[in-house]
Amino acid sequence: MKMHIDTDVCTGHGVCEGLRPDVFEVGDDGIVHLLTEEFTEADRADLEDAVDQCPTQALRLEG
């Protein structure tokens, strides 16, 4: 499972971070960064929620 972030599109709403602060963090640059890339099946539902609820559609989950 791989999370892609389109950094040109993300405007740092932080909805994803609100859902999983251990995975996403909006940095001082106003753009989100991944704190980990190691995901298990247990993370899938949360990551899908983050993709669905990102207001700029900056996230994409592969695999």
């Binding site: 932080g14 909805v15 971070e17 602060p21 669905d52 207001p55």
Partner: protein
Amino acid sequence: MARLVVVGASLAGLRAVESARRAGFTGAITLLGAEEHLPYDRPPLSKEFLTGDGTPKQFRTEDALRTDLDVDLRLGTPATGLDPEQRVILAGDDPVPYTAAVLATGATARTLPGLPALSGLHTLRTLDDARALRTAIQPGSRVVIVGAGFIGSELACSARRMGAEVTLVEAAHVPFAAAVGDELAPAIAALHTRHGTDLRCGVTVTGIDGDDRVRAVRLGDGSTLPADVAIVGVGAAPAIDWLRGSGVKLDDGVVCDETLQSSAPGVYAAGDVARWFNPLFGETMRLEHWTSAAEQGGLAARNATDPAQATPCTLVPYFWSDLYDSRVQFVGVPTADEVRVVAGGVGEDTLLALYRRDDRLIGALGVEQRRLVMRLRAQIGKRVSWNDALEAVAG
């Protein structure tokens, strides 16, 4: 065979369809949309769609909907009724039977009573509305915007960027009070003043003058504002007329329980049209926010297709608005016992304020505070105490 019928082909409806498939629903899915367009994103319509190159942001291709998600997509096909006894939705010539349904018909722009049909008079809700505005607003146009809520305010910013002369007229003494509370509404209104936008509060509009096209906007004090374009931005009303007489309980929206189920068994609602009981705040609410529509669309479809596992919708409201170069964000609810500014302030570049009810944090407002606001959203969801919230932002 099981059939999920989703009414409304916009954000909530799309998320409903996607989520049902992802949860493993193998029955048929019909998606009915009144507009001819594929699902597209609305927030840009008052922002970069107007100031940019005018390309709509579409969520999915037709092929992705029909093939990947196996959806029976019927655009340009408004639902006209629902029969909870027969379990059918009326649309076009043939009634569509359902075993589960998600109502996601959103909202329509309100207007003022008794306005004549003139060219140059606009509202903004749909892509077609936004296209008409792009053509109407030209450099040097005199644009009068009636209503300084978030959409009216964003329109004011965009129209100025497009080179128009803008006057923003608001009936209340300060705009945004319903959205962010009385105390800090002036802080948001100050963004207009700081950027030199002509905002006139406490002014009612009594009519629009013109022969075939708009000439002027008439105000309560008897004066008139000359105008080439008049835009009415006085909020939105839930799109429920088609459900009148169906027996589905309505009250400024489709009335739902905490799992988003309406009074009709198997019929759920999501997005701007849904009024539901949010257990997290112990109150009934109807939101007109992007993230709520996305979240509720997914949840309503999962609950509708697997009611035995239905879970409550306990979301923390979130909306944002982009005004000039500032991002305004609000999480939670604004009806508070106390509002405390913890960073920045009215008239400054940034602001962070916390909202307290009893001893709980229930809301937060940020202007250019992207990092903190969403952390507070998570805290509100965990019912964090006021003191812990204050410590967290201080630390």
